[in-house]
Point group: C2
Chain length 100, copies 2
């Protein structure tokens, strides 16, 4: 293994935290299929609008999603090439584990 700075390891753990919440992982999963408005996300996931907005702000601040306004709706999409890769790597693990 390479020599990785304490700072980088900290950032790495911070990065994984974004995937470590059910609400956010569900939002991420949804956006893997394409952009979606806040209200559509809330409806699809059966969550309050405020919950979705709060979590989207966290993801947006981290540049994991990006907003595009169209009228009064704001469409969010994934803004990072690596998100799908990370998601799928983790998913492969879960599914593999399920099989035993």
């Amino acid at each position: 293994m390479q020599n990785i700075s304490l700072d980088t390891l900290f950032e790495l753990s911070e990065f994984f935290k974004f995937f470590g919440d059910t609400t956010r992982i569900r939002v991420i999963h949804l956006l893997l299929s394409g952009e979606m408005s806040v209200s559509a996300i809330a409806e699809k996931l059966n969550l309050e609008q405020s919950v979705v907005s709060h979590q989207l702000r966290i993801l947006r601040t981290a540049n994991l999603v990006k907003p595009t306004r169209d009228g009064r709706k704001i469409y969010y999409s994934l803004d990072d090439e690596h998100i799908g890769e990370i998601f799928n790597t983790g998913l492969a693990h879960i599914l593999h584990k399920k099989k035993g």
Copy 2:
């Protein structure tokens, strides 16, 4: 994207949580080079023994690491083929981001 059950998405977020803590990611990083005793981990990471033990228990319960006793020392090693893959995928993201 596939249809992934709510349950699986929950497990996925729980799985990523293990990587979402500085202490744990540092332990994982260390163990990527091979097995190591609890005291050696604590010394190397400059952490209290108790802190390391507590976090190792979390990783052990999740079957991410496994212990092997040798005398009074207990050596921990990674017990999951996917850990390195996940770690490196995340790391690639961080390093890529650093470059801009």
